[in-house]
């Protein structure tokens, strides 16, 4: 879980203006991946790379189309996506609420933070056996594992975001006679938002990771199940399709958060522009 402390400079990096020269040569960056693809296809075609180890790119593409048309892939994606979304909503809500409780008062911090720090030290993948004992092998253990994984980065980042809010603004709030409720709504939460959004992106990363692990261990539906099932039949093409879909989903949710970030932090963009 060392992931959590990293990634602070994310927004700054995004703000650096693109040099025009970079854009002209951008297609150069596609050359080596394309070359790799060609080599891979050739190796498969000549039998150098046997299909039981790794299927050819063309086969993988065809399998992707087949799985989509047969409905297997969309169903699996739907199930997995649902698990992530529910788990994310549950874990995110808990993480942010706890951060608000801990962030707003010393008493809250003393009550919440030690427990969160202890839980954070647990290797949460190691909890899978316990989760199976507690919740069976249905949807609950998978959703809860995602929820657990998600709650920590959101908790830690929101907490530090709240504590990082400029004390001078709190003084302004006092001279403007803002009530505590308004102080939280207008100053504290928006002030913590940039850091919370960093936590959100980290949380999405671990959410998919937690799901993949949970689905590998016990599942009768979903992407993880599709991959595991394919292993039984040495269908490396199906496995690769599953992996690609996982990463596409991860990228898609990440860009969703970036979109959110751009809208929510417009006040800062104005400054950087």
């Amino acid at each position: 879980m060392s992931v959590v402390e990293l990634a602070r400079p994310v927004e700054k990096a995004r703000a650096t203006p693109k040099a025009p020269r970079r854009r002209v040569t951008a297609w150069h960056r596609w050359l080596s991946p394309l070359a790799l693809l060609v080599v891979w296809q050739l190796a498969s075609a000549t039998g150098l790379l046997p299909e039981r180890l790794l299927a050819a790119p063309a086969t993988i593409a065809a399998t992707a189309v087949d799985l989509t048309q047969a409905g297997t892939l969309p169903t699996a994606v739907g199930v997995s996506l649902q698990r992530v979304l529910i788990g994310f909503a549950v874990g995110g809500t808990i993480g942010v609420l706890l951060a608000v409780v801990a962030g707003l008062s010393r008493a809250g911090e003393n009550a919440v933070d030690p427990i969160m720090q202890m839980l954070r030290a647990l290797p949460f993948f190691g909890l899978i056996p316990l989760f199976i004992l507690w919740f069976g092998i249905g949807e609950e253990p998978k959703i809860l594992l995602v929820a657990l994984a998600v709650s920590f980065p959101l908790y830690l980042n929101t907490f530090s975001g709240i504590r990082g809010v400029d004390g001078k603004l709190a003084e302004v709030a006092k001279t403007l006679r803002l009530s505590r409720g308004r102080l939280i709504r207008h100053i504290v939460l928006p002030g913590a938002l940039p850091q919370t959004l960093v936590g959100l992106r980290q949380a999405l990363g671990v959410a998919w990771l937690a799901l993949i692990v949970a689905e590998q261990v016990n599942a009768t539906t979903g992407l993880g199940y599709m991959i595991n099932d394919a292993r039984e039949f040495l269908r490396t093409d199906v496995i690769v399709v599953g992996l690609l879909v996982y990463s596409a989903l991860g990228l898609a949710t990440d860009s969703l958060v970036r979109l959110l970030e751009r809208r929510a932090l417009a006040w800062r963009r104005g400054f950087l522009a």
Binding site: T175, L193, R268
Partner: protein, 231 residues
């Protein structure tokens, strides 16, 4: 309601910053508080603003206090108009009037971080004045501005003060600023009000006015500086 302080004291550890302050700020009066850096000017202002819980003594002050700080302290994630209306019970039209008064009508929708220093400080004044305070506390609000902007804002402050007539306490280290703006100049030294000097010169005032020139020398001496440099 006039503002009265008696026996006001504040120490940070062993360091006594305010020893025993007795002071009355009269309604509608423009008072400047001068002092060397570290003399406790801002500490006194913060006590009046209710931002210091550890100050001792008696402070009688109206509930209707507004503050403009050295840095404008606008809330960066609220557009300008929303900054003015923050915590305000009056209708939005009042906030728009306040922005118009400081010449920022066009910037109402701007993010604070896109404002220039002078604009942000004017916005900060508008945010304070829209509350129609009986006591306006200004904590060196002009010190970070460039010389030209400062002249403009001095005029603006006098204009706004003449219109709204709050009692003003301006904390500054700039003797000329005090002479140009205030009815009364206080000098804080060794934790006490060492000098309390009325200025009766008519406004608009000019730096070269002989009365002000004489006062300047007096005040600089009170601050431990001769006009040519340190004494």
């Amino acid at each position: 309601m006039a503002t009265r302080l008696s026996g006001v004291a504040r120490a940070f550890g062993d360091r006594v910053v305010l020893d025993s302050i007795d002071l009355e700020l009269r309604d509608g009066e423009f008072t400047a508080l001068l002092g060397r850096s570290g003399s406790g000017k801002s500490t006194l202002l913060r006590a009046l603003a209710g931002l210091d819980d550890e100050v001792t003594g008696t402070i009688e002050v109206t509930d209707s206090v507004a503050v403009a700080f050295q840095e404008p302290r606008l809330v960066p994630w609220k557009r300008l108009l929303a900054n003015i209306t923050l915590g305000l019970d009056a209708p939005v039209s009042k906030a728009k009037e306040a922005l118009a008064e400081v010449g920022l009508t066009e910037r109402a929708g701007a993010w604070p971080l896109t404002l220039s220093g002078g604009e942000a400080q004017r916005a900060s004044l508008a945010r304070a004045l829209v509350r129609e305070p009986e006591l306006l506390l200004l904590d060196e609000p002009f010190s970070a501005l460039d010389a030209l902007t400062r002249i403009t804002i001095h005029h603006l402050v006098l204009e706004l003060w003449a219109r709204h007539r709050p009692a003003v306490l301006l904390v500054t280290h700039d003797v000329d600023e005090a002479l140009l703006l205030a009815d009364r100049v206080l000098v804080l030294d060794e934790g006490r009000i060492a000098h309390d000097i009325p200025i009766t010169t008519d406004r608009p005032r000019h730096r070269e006015d002989p009365d002000l020139v004489a006062l300047r020398t007096t005040l600089l001496a009170a601050l431990g500086v001769s006009p040519e440099g340190r004494s």
